[in-house]
């Protein structure tokens, strides 16, 4: 019965406006800085994915006779580290763990934090108070200290590092999600939707989600650079990745004794962290302005 009914209805063809996201992409493409950041970021990701194919040498093979060679040494374009391993290969391979440690916690925290924040923001009242005051407890600690404390308590290792970083990033994302949702909830189209008798879940799905996910996403993208630095910091302190794994933070740590011998080589992992985090930051800035409909 109901399956046959729609067939009788004829809907005239309409002129479709380009959607919101089509406009965002168009504006993003006009932003040279954001596009450059996107290209660098994609290059880094591709580099990490295809590391074994790109890297000229084995990143684990050490040699005591060729330790701390300078940049430009034949066969070792970026020199060697304190154990004589090829820096270029180690930097390329290091991108895998570093990006994983940078992106994964933010990605997971994005879902958890958004869920908490949107619930708190949309339901409001006591639910909001309980959720957000709990979140506030985490804000009492500086994020670096919290990550170190959690990692320290859980023990070193990649998984525990990821877990502690995720816990660190849930509160800020939840707080942004809550404030954006609270603002959206007060706009009249939500009132109109409520006046239509729609369920809270449906209102969130149709009217809230599309309007809050953008700003939360932009904020989360900005956190990736922080996560990268924190992850590197954990590795630097011996809490995240363990040697001999190549990871930029850990490399920075082990090379710091060589800072007077080969300062340029020792600075290379830091440079990679810098480039990656700044490209994520610029990408997030570009997204923010591309999403601003009045821009």
């Amino acid at each position: 019965m109901s399956a046959a009914a729609p067939a009788l209805i004829q809907i005239a063809a309409i002129e479709k406006s380009p959607g919101y996201w089509a406009g965002v992409i168009r504006r993003f493409r006009r932003d040279p800085v954001a596009m450059a950041a996107l290209v660098i970021m994609l290059a880094l990701v591709l580099m990490a994915i295809f590391a074994p194919l790109i890297a000229p040498a084995d990143p684990y093979r050490s040699s005591m006779i060729r330790r701390l060679r300078p940049i430009g040494t034949p066969g070792f374009p970026l020199g060697t580290d304190e154990l004589g391993r090829d820096m270029l290969s180690r930097l390329i391979h290091g991108g895998r763990l570093s990006l994983l440690m940078g992106v994964t916690p933010v990605f997971i925290a994005f879902f958890i934090g958004s869920a908490i924040g949107i619930t708190a923001g949309f339901v409001g009242g006591k639910v909001n108070t309980v959720l957000m005051r709990t979140i506030d407890v985490f804000f009492a600690f500086p994020s670096v200290l919290l990550a170190i404390a959690l990692s320290g308590a859980l023990g070193a290792g990649i998984f525990n590092g990821l877990l502690s970083l995720t816990i660190v990033f849930v509160p800020p994302i939840a707080r942004i999600a809550e404030s954006v949702t609270t603002a959206v909830r007060k706009i009249e189209y939500i009132e109109a939707a409520r006046a239509s008798g729609a369920s809270a879940f449906r209102i969130v799905r149709v009217h809230v989600l599309g309007n809050v996910i953008g700003p939360i996403f932009v904020y989360a993208t900005g956190l990736i650079s922080v996560s990268l630095i924190l992850a590197s910091g954990l590795s630097f302190l011996g809490l995240g990745v363990k040697p001999p794994e190549p990871e930029w933070g850990l490399m920075l740590n082990t090379l710091r004794n060589a800072i007077y011998v080969q300062p340029w080589v020792a600075a290379l992992p830091g440079l990679m962290i810098f480039i990656t985090s700044i490209s994520f930051n610029l990408l997030s800035d570009g997204l923010r302005s591309a999403m601003d409909i009045k821009a």
Partner: protein
């Protein structure tokens, strides 16, 4: 009593008073607690709507006027249960909300159009999706709801082929308000509440939308509750007018009676403040001075007495309550108009 001798407005009244009202509101009250202090204690109460009662007959337009903050919009939101009233009854066709009428049904029959045409449309939804949302929530299949949306777009004067796929920011204010009207109509409501629905529009666009509203009313047999601060517009569109002051009804009556014979001093002051097109017809009565008192701690007795030129001791002593004037369907809450109230201008009781 001057009103007793004035021409009776019954002849002009579109609906016989004997029929049961479509919507009936009794003693509606909403106080907003003011939270403050260290532990969110209640430090005060805003008496936004304080005992408002009125009826709306089928097919009529009831205008609600008053200054900002007098409770017009709160009343509107209470009527569709967007805000839950503290006290009072809402009856739709003699069925009482919460007893034998549930909120869902009330909302299907009573729809609302808001002032801000842009804020009342989701920026991420196309116009057809925005209009089809309500019917779909109420169980209409998607294709049928879209077809209905196109039909309604055409009805409010927007060509579906051009406008169905558009987003709110691509439309002008008047076009957006037409979409908002179409969205309200998608429920096939009996009553449409227009909360300052044309106030933000340009004068020429406002006139177009008002004409559209009048046409739709005739075509679909709608009943309007028209909230505005523009007395000219209210006079044009309304059958009856309700004047609100600080959360209470000051005066209510048929539009021509009320405009010709305003009885409450506040109504008189409002009408006197209306700009006149005729330079010879200057405002004689002193317009109102000062802001309305704070609804957190409203004045005792008649809430208007601190600003009223005719205030006497009795006015601050007790609230007058709505009094039915001899001219039918004209009610006023003023001691000076109530015989035997003790006010020097009031008639002595027979």
């Amino acid at each position: 009593m001057s009103n007793a001798t004035s021409p009776s407005p019954e002849a002009a009244a579109p609906v016989p008073a004997s029929r049961a009202p479509l919507l009936s509101v009794n003693g509606l009250r909403k106080h907003f607690p003011l939270k403050g202090g260290l532990f969110g204690r209640t430090t005060g109460v805003v008496r936004a709507v304080d005992g408002v009662s009125f009826d709306v007959a089928e097919g009529e337009t009831l205008g609600i006027v008053g200054e900002s903050g007098c409770g017009k919009s709160t009343t509107a939101r209470l009527l569709v249960d967007l805000i839950t009233p503290d006290d009072g009854q809402i009856l739709l066709e003699s069925r009482r909300l919460g007893v034998d009428l549930d909120v869902r049904e009330l909302r299907r029959h009573v729809q609302m159009v808001f002032q801000d045409s842009y804020a009342s449309l989701n920026p991420r939804l196309t116009m057809e999706d925005a209009i089809a949302f309500g019917p779909r929530v109420n169980g209409m299949p998607a294709a049928k709801a879209t077809a209905l949306a196109h039909e309604l777009l055409a009805k409010v004067g927007l060509e579906p082929r051009r406008f169905a796929g558009r987003y709110p920011h691509e439309l002008s204010g008047g076009q957006r308000q037409r979409v908002n009207i179409a969205r309200a109509l998608a429920f096939s409501p009996k009553i449409v509440i227009l909360d300052e629905a044309v106030s933000a529009l340009d004068k020429s666009v406002e006139a177009q939308v008002l004409n559209l509203l009048a046409d739709l009313k005739k075509e679909l047999g709608l009943t309007y509750i028209f909230i505005s601060h523009d007395l000219n517009v209210v006079r044009y569109i309304s059958d009856r007018v309700m004047v609100m002051y600080l959360g209470e009804v000051a005066e209510i009556g048929p539009v021509e009676t009320l405009y010709a014979n305003p009885t409450h001093p506040y109504t008189r002051a409002l009408l006197a403040a209306m700009p006149s097109m005729d330079p010879d017809r200057r405002t004689e009565e002193a317009p109102l001075t000062g802001d309305p008192p704070n609804p957190i701690n409203p004045p005792s007795g008649c809430r208007f007495h601190p600003r009223c030129a005719k205030a006497e001791g009795v006015c601050s002593a007790g609230s007058p309550g709505l009094f039915k004037l001899p001219s039918d369907r004209h009610l006023v809450a003023c001691h000076a108009a109530i015989p035997g109230s003790g006010h020097s201008l009031a008639e002595m009781p027979a």
